[in-house]
Amino acid sequence: MVKLSDVSFTFDGQKIFDRAACEIHRGEFVSLVGSTGSGKTTLLRLLIMDLMPSTGTVTVGNYISQHVTRKQIPLLRRKLGIVFQDFKLLEDRSVYDNVAFALYVTNARASNIRKRVLHALAQVGLSHKTVSMPNNLSGGEQQRVAVARALVNDPFLLLADEPTGNLDPVTSQEILKLLKDINAEGMTVLMATHNYDLVRKAQGRIVQIKDRKLQEVQLKVK
């Protein structure tokens, strides 16, 4: 489903990845760990093809970095759900409109939009907040809206970049539980984080960025 083969990437003269390789299979929950600045976000950007590898190949579903055209990139992103540390919600729109936004821009049928938005909001437990504005929500709720927006297009892969970075420990646990629940329903999840406590609780496969390469690691049991 996701495959990085011999991926090297240089940014501003600095080598971030050097012949890195990794594979993620359908239904997995993978935690991507590494110190700050090691390249976690860069890896996610390579997956959404916001960046292209200097050498090597990134394959996401049917899209291969070497062959993908500029016009195909939006089509790839419609099949991915992306969640950020800073939520990236549109503050001038309601919760409902933020989630519906992902459907409007992908030309979804108007008759389906309401049903799908309400379903996504129900999945994240925010059915009662449809008319609220993002600024009136707690951090955890805002991240839930972002997750709902990521889910509403029914993606095959959910990418989460430090999804709990701005949240307190209790809320972080809630968001992790939400991501685990989504994974349990069959969705593949890749979560980039430097919070090892969260990784431990996630209990999935762990991929670490070290020395510009990707390697599988096992956490020591305390």
């Binding site: 916001d50 939006p74 790839l76 990236k88 409007y104 821009v105 030309n107």
Partner: protein, 291 residues
């Protein structure tokens, strides 16, 4: 593409960022006013120069020794010259009348005879009212037997020609500079407005919006800004002209005229400015990476 959604977003863009929209519209209005006033200056100065050029006439004097029978054939040959629009015959008698009107004296009384020759007053076709054509026509007139002398205001014609060339080139350069300046100014103002919506653009890109889908609401916004700016500029021009004519009086119309075509032209330029400004500005943000 979801056209209704795009239109809705374009119009809602106004409500979401009122201040930047007002600034953009004011910038477009001011740019259009400057361009409009420049166009007005160009048109009016051109027409003044043209009216000078229209007054240029040639006069071909007929040899005193030629009999009256020669007048008509000479006129026929003059009219056959390419570029000659009309040739009006002035008899010796009429010439003395004109002399009397202009100098206040009767030439018969002074000299006991009429020394003034008969002549043809020649007007040229518009496209022949330039020094080169006038020189060529002068030569052809000279070659007609019975034509003694030809006069026309060559120096004035050459001066108008020289000045009008400099004027047109200067206006062209200033016009181009003003237009580039207006596009630059408007696109920068719109860029500031779009800058405040970078987050929306990033989110659109992240959820898989195509470039065209992202671009369209901003282009619609730009067109609306251009249209509103155009209406404001047209209104201001009309009101200023009306106020000026009220203050100065109807004499103003003799000096400055606003052709009715100028108003739709200003509106169209406003639309073009809004369109270009938004297309140029949005390009930068669409090309940016999303994370």
């Amino acid at each position: 593409m979801n056209i209704l959604y795009t239109l809705k977003e374009g119009v809602l863009g106004f409500r979401r960022a009122r201040l930047s929209m007002v600034v953009s519209i004011m910038t477009i209005t001011m740019s259009l006013l400057i361009l409009g006033l420049f166009a007005l200056f160009y048109r009016n100065t051109s027409s003044i120069m043209q009216s000078f050029r229209d007054r240029i006439e040639m006069e071909a004097f007929i040899d005193q020794s030629a009999g009256e029978d020669a007048y008509q054939p000479i006129g026929k040959r003059i009219r056959a010259i390419p570029g000659v629009k009309s040739a009006a015959f002035i008899s010796k008698q009429e010439a003395s009348e004109i002399f009397r009107r202009e100098f206040g004296e009767d030439v018969h009384r002074v000299l006991d005879f009429n020394p003034l020759p008969a002549s043809y007053k020649i007007t040229l076709e518009a496209e022949y009212r330039n020094p080169d054509s006038a020189r060529a026509i002068h030569q052809m007139l000279s070659a007609i037997p019975g034509v003694d002398d030809i006069i026309y205001r060559r120096a004035l014609l050459e001066l108008i020609e020289k000045r009008s060339k400099v004027f047109v080139l200067t206006c062209l350069a200033v016009g181009i500079l003003l237009t580039i300046g207006a596009v630059f100014l408007v696109s920068n103002t719109i860029r500031l407005a779009i800058f405040s919506k970078r987050k929306t653009i990033t989110t659109m890109k992240l959820v898989g919006a195509t470039r065209m889908f992202i671009r369209m609401p901003f282009i619609i916004e730009g067109l609306i800004q251009g249209l509103v700016g155009g209406v404001c500029a047209t209104g201001l021009m009309y009101a200023s002209y009306a106020a000026a004519s009220h203050l100065i009086g109807p004499e103003l119309y003799d000096f400055i005229t606003i052709e009715p075509m100028l108003y739709p032209l200003v509106l169209a330029t406003g639309l073009a400015l809004g369109f270009l400004g938004s297309v140029i500005s949005i390009r930068k943000f669409i090309g940016e990476n999303v994370m």
